[in-house]
């Protein structure tokens, strides 16, 4: 089922700047992704691999400079078709050396204004987002119910308070919050973490967006709640068939929910393709990083085969010093003498190795 992608990210770069080191933190460094209508894209990767930043960049929520500096984010819903980063070039000047961005001049204020203008029709209405640590992400000064109602009145046809409230109640009910009428007037501090997550999902979905970005929906919740939340997501997915970008470092969740998967590392996508290919342990051709990742999941199979849980050696790549070659080179355990040179010198690009399956590794092309 491949239709025109609802979201098409091309070569997105979102940098931050460390004043103390006088260096760029290349959190997102050339990410390209696609999300097809109706499908769920799982974005997986260790923390610091730039998953969340990518998500925030999509919604234009990066407020510290320089922020987004290049790329395209094509958005195609039934209502809106536009590049969410339109005329970014007018605001940013880049100076590169050896393919590395060394200097950024950006009219931050102007760009912010521009973003507000571009996103005004998009945020909430088209793309909704849920964040990690839900407790602090809900406004502590207004009741949960009100926050849902607000979303409804902002983005749906229902402008009348009462209707909206009714609708909000149904949403509370849908996200499995028991006795919605009571909870409606509760303030976030009164709710448990799980509850808050559900509430936030309700807030996000209430505005009936065409794309939902769920950023680490389960982190910070204890195991039982986690699975419950995942169940909820699965159920909602089947009910609403809403397009979702699911961000998590937890492969098990990704594998349960998503059709296609993007594996991110050090600010780029290493592997992108259908979930069934990438995440099934048996499948052969895949990026060393992915396999390492899979190997490190506590699953019965792994234990049986190896008798221990292999961890990925080395540290997570620090995005200040991006090596010239493959970003994973220093930690890669499948480098062959044949390609070692390339791996060290030159960064591979994301190539199609078969229909809908792209990998960024020298192993698969020469």
């Amino acid at each position: 089922m491949t239709t025109a992608p609802i979201l098409k990210i091309e070569d997105l770069r979102t940098y931050f700047y460390s004043r103390s080191k006088q260096a760029f933190i290349r959190s997102v460094d050339g990410v390209s992704l696609e999300i097809a209508k109706g499908e769920t894209l799982g974005v997986v990767g260790e923390s610091g691999s730039g998953k969340s930043v990518t998500a925030l960049s999509i919604l234009g929520l990066i407020s510290v400079g320089p922020g987004v500096i290049s790329g395209k984010i094509g958005f195609h819903s039934d209502r809106i078709q536009k590049d969410l980063l339109q005329d970014l070039g007018d605001f940013v000047k880049l100076t590169t050396r050896a393919g590395k961005v060394m200097e950024v001049t950006k009219d931050v204020v102007g760009w912010e204004r521009n973003t507000e203008r571009v996103m005004s029709k998009v945020r909430g209405k088209e793309i909704a987002m849920t964040f990690q640590n839900p407790k602090s992400s809900l406004n502590p000064f207004t009741s949960v119910g009100k926050q849902i109602t607000e979303a409804i009145r902002l983005h749906t046809a229902m402008k009348i308070e009462r209707e909206a409230k009714e609708r909000a109640l149904t949403w509370l009910d849908r996200v499995k919050i028991d006795s919605p009428r009571l909870r409606f007037d509760n303030y976030p501090y009164g709710l448990s973490g799980g509850m808050c997550q559900r509430a936030m999902i309700a807030v996000a979905l209430a505005s009936e967006p065409s794309l939902l970005i769920a950023d680490e929906p389960t982190t910070g919740l204890d195991a039982t709640i986690q699975s419950k939340i995942v169940d909820l997501l699965v159920e909602l997915k089947s009910e609403l068939g809403i397009t979702t970008m699911l961000i998590s470092h937890d492969i098990s969740i990704i594998s349960r929910l998503s059709e296609s998967v993007a594996v991110m590392y050090g600010g780029t996508v290493f592997e992108y393709g259908p979930a069934k290919h990438i995440l099934s342990a048996g499948f052969e051709s895949k990026h060393p990083y992915t396999s390492a990742l899979l190997a490190s999941i506590p699953s019965a199979q792994n234990i049986r085969e190896k008798g221990y849980l292999p961890a990925i050696e080395g540290d997570v790549l620090d995005t200040i010093n991006i090596p010239e070659g493959c970003r994973f080179y220093s930690r890669c355990n499948q480098v062959t003498e044949k390609i070692r040179e390339k791996c060290a010198r030159q960064e591979p690009d994301l190539r199609q190795i078969e229909s809908g399956h792209k990998v960024r590794c020298w192993l698969y092309f020469d």
Binding site: M119, G124, K125, A128, M129, F131, P140
Partner: protein, 321 residues
């Protein structure tokens, strides 16, 4: 407002009121101790212009039914006050309560007025520089507000008066209230308020505080959520970023501004508490001083009460704490 919201407020109210009473007791006691420790007494003021021998004073005490030992005196005063009788001014012979209330009222106008001025100046600057950071608009504004709030208030008053008399030929601006029937009366009354509002030396602090709070709130997660769902950031930041800090400022600055009022009332001939306190402190006119101290403390407490109530009303968590 829902009952659930009213109950905590009621609780806070009652609690604060109890505290207020205790504090007023404390204030009166401290003031009394200081007064008692100070040399001279009201009677020597009455006896000015005659040989005020110790006997004469003692005679006076008895004549005026003032107990000799200080604690009896205090208790007597306390009892009187609790029965709503603040005694009579030793110098003026007038009953204290109406007098103090009268001046208290005019001082209250001055205080509240100047608070409003202060906020009118500080809030926009603070918000602007909180959102836009230091730039070519916010910087000069901030600087200039710092500058005026660093001027000695009475000198500022003199400047204003000089300007309005010698330059604009508008007089008597120096009369605050007692400009009865004058043209521009409202102006004469506005000026002291303005001068105090600008010159009470708190603007810079207010700006700094508001800016920090707003900045902090703007970085909160829930504001990001608000932006993500396309709601107005203002609407969400308003309560924690503006309302609460402002009320805190109002509460905490009242003592300062009451202090500044002492000066401004002298310069602008404003018939207020400050002047009376100043006079009474020199006359050792203890019923008056006590009355004023109590009233002033009461104002301060009302300020913080207001702040508490607003805080609780806005922040459901507070009532649980």
């Amino acid at each position: 407002m829902k009952f659930s919201a009213i109950r905590p407020i009621a609780l806070v109210l009652s609690r604060e009121l109890v505290i207020t009473v205790l504090l007023l007791l404390g204030v009166s006691f401290v003031v009394f101790i200081i007064l008692f420790a100070s040399p001279g007494d009201p009677f020597s003021v009455l006896l000015e212009g005659q040989l005020s021998t110790a006997e004469a004073k003692a005679g006076l005490r008895d004549a005026m039914g003032v107990p000799r030992s200080w604690y009896v005196q205090y208790l007597a005063w306390l009892a009187g006050m609790l029965s709503g009788n603040f005694g009579t001014s030793i110098r003026m012979g007038l009953p204290v309560l109406p007098e103090v209330l009268r001046v208290g009222f005019s001082t209250l106008i001055l205080t509240i007025g100047s608070l409003i001025i202060t906020l009118l100046i500080a809030v926009p600057i603070a918000l602007y520089s909180a959102l836009r950071g230091t730039n070519k608009i916010s910087w000069p504004l901030t600087m200039s507000s710092y500058v005026i709030s660093a001027l000695p208030v009475f000198w500022l008053g003199y400047i204003v008066i000089y300007f309005f008399t010698h330059k604009l030929g508008l007089f008597p601006i120096a009369f605050g209230f007692s400009s009865a029937g004058q043209k521009y009366r409202w102006l004469y009354q506005l000026l002291p308020i303005f001068v105090l509002g600008v010159g009470n030396g708190t603007i810079s602090e207010v700006i700094r505080y508001l800016r920090q709070e707003m900045g902090r709130v703007m970085a909160e997660d829930y504001i990001r959520t608000a932006r993500a769902k396309g709601a107005s950031v203002w609407k969400h930041a308003f309560k924690e970023g503006l309302l609460i800090p402002v009320t805190e400022i109002i509460a905490s600055k009242i003592p300062f501004i009451l202090g500044g009022a002492v000066i401004v009332e002298q310069v602008f001939n404003w018939p207020g508490m400050g002047r009376m306190a100043w006079q009474a402190a020199q006359d050792r006119d203890y019923p008056v001083i006590m009355g004023i101290a109590i009233l002033a403390a009461f104002f301060v407490r009302m300020g913080s009460l207001f702040q508490r109530v607003v805080y609780v009303a806005l922040n459901p968590r507070a009532s649980k704490e």
